[in-house]
Symmetry: C2
Subunit: 221 residues, 2 copies
Amino acid sequence: MFTLSEENYLKAIYHLELGNDGGVSTNAIAEKLATKASSVTDMVKKLSEKEVVLYKKYKGVTLTILGKTVAANVVRKHRLWEVFLVEKLNFSWHEVHEVAEQLEHIKSAKLINQLDRFLGFPTHDPHGDPIPDKDGNLKIVEKSLLSTLSKNESGICIGVDDSSSEFLQFLDKKGITLGKKITILDKEDFDDSLSISIGDKKLSISNKIASNLYIRAHTGQ
Amino acid sequence: MFTLSEENYLKAIYHLELGNDGGVSTNAIAEKLATKASSVTDMVKKLSEKEVVLYKKYKGVTLTILGKTVAANVVRKHRLWEVFLVEKLNFSWHEVHEVAEQLEHIKSAKLINQLDRFLGFPTHDPHGDPIPDKDGNLKIVEKSLLSTLSKNESGICIGVDDSSSEFLQFLDKKGITLGKKITILDKEDFDDSLSISIGDKKLSISNKIASNLYIRAHTGQ
DNA sequence: ATAAATTTTTAGACAAGTCTAAAAATAATA
DNA sequence: TATTATTTTTAGACTTGTCTAAAAATTTAT
Ligand SMILES: [Mn+2]
Ligand SMILES: [Mn+2]
Ligand SMILES: [Mn+2]
Ligand SMILES: [Mn+2]
């Protein structure tokens, strides 16, 4: 069994490993968890004892198979709870993360399996992130940033890179939600801002926004 | 804000105060929480600092108004989650307590209010215990132990005193569930065992069983 | 009312998780 | 390559919540 704190470290390392290849650095973990490097070193030793990470002093850490399984299960719980909050309790997507951070640590295999069934075995959370299955596997969906599309190309909005409450509320205000079709009407060379159509509306969005929206390419039609 | 441990102490004192009148003893709290008296003394001082209990050395503790509110809210969450687990996730009543012990500490007012709504504002949990409202008030329902009924009297089974997993599973095996009408067919002087009818079945149950089942008196009919 | 038994508190210790400050190792730069 | 800057680890301390053992207060029994 793992403590709440251990689970949070494993999850942080899990997320950092997806971006990086090679070991995850002490500082990176410290930053992600808003803690100090010295605390990370202490915890990493404990996790190494428990055989969930590989650790060599001064070279970062990597998850073992076991560690990856544990971490993926925490992520699975986090995302299933987020679906629950949005689908069943009328939370909006910018309100769920904080509560899911707590719920992800509830220990009960039956709970999470029944929740999964109750929700209809969802594959993605409210932010478009994939939900790992019972074995911790998640299928990667082909996706690209909106900012990489060219004029007249279009796609379906399927996720966000930044899922901060502020960004999500901004998207709400603009009427940008997952599942909607977006077409690039024009691209401004000066600042890389975009003129897009979404639903029946036309919007102008900055490159920063476009670099935080994931799109499933929408060939033809 | 209160820690998980503080919430557990407050809840324990809350439950003990309902049985007792006058202060709750250090030992009683220690036993309920399966901890040591010395630990209780330490925590009680902290709770006293935080103004959720009144504490005089060697005289037990009592909850303040604030303390009672906090405790009742934890109980409210515990019972609402138990309803959720049984009604929505197909848990049986003997499986919910352990998970609810964890879920009761999740902090989010919106979560619990929406859960309440989602469940249709239930008034009782799966064991027949009342669910405190937002202000911590619970309405007491008139109830008596099955063991206090006389021959030919009957009532509706509305709760259990012992809600241990073992007892609940025993009741399942015998087909005794909340909401069923029970009639005393006969009472054995020798050991106070009862012959009862429940649904269309007849059963013989010991006095110990009858002393753990709550009945709403069922006058006439 | 004294003595004995019980309950409660204190004193001191420990594990988990964190922190600051300083030392050591590694990486970057001149 | 020698020096400087950055990263990482160590050493020591602190908080929370717990424990054991011993002292103090209270209750019960003689
Ligand atoms: Mn989240
Ligand atoms: Mn998410
Ligand atoms: Mn319960
Ligand atoms: Mn209950």
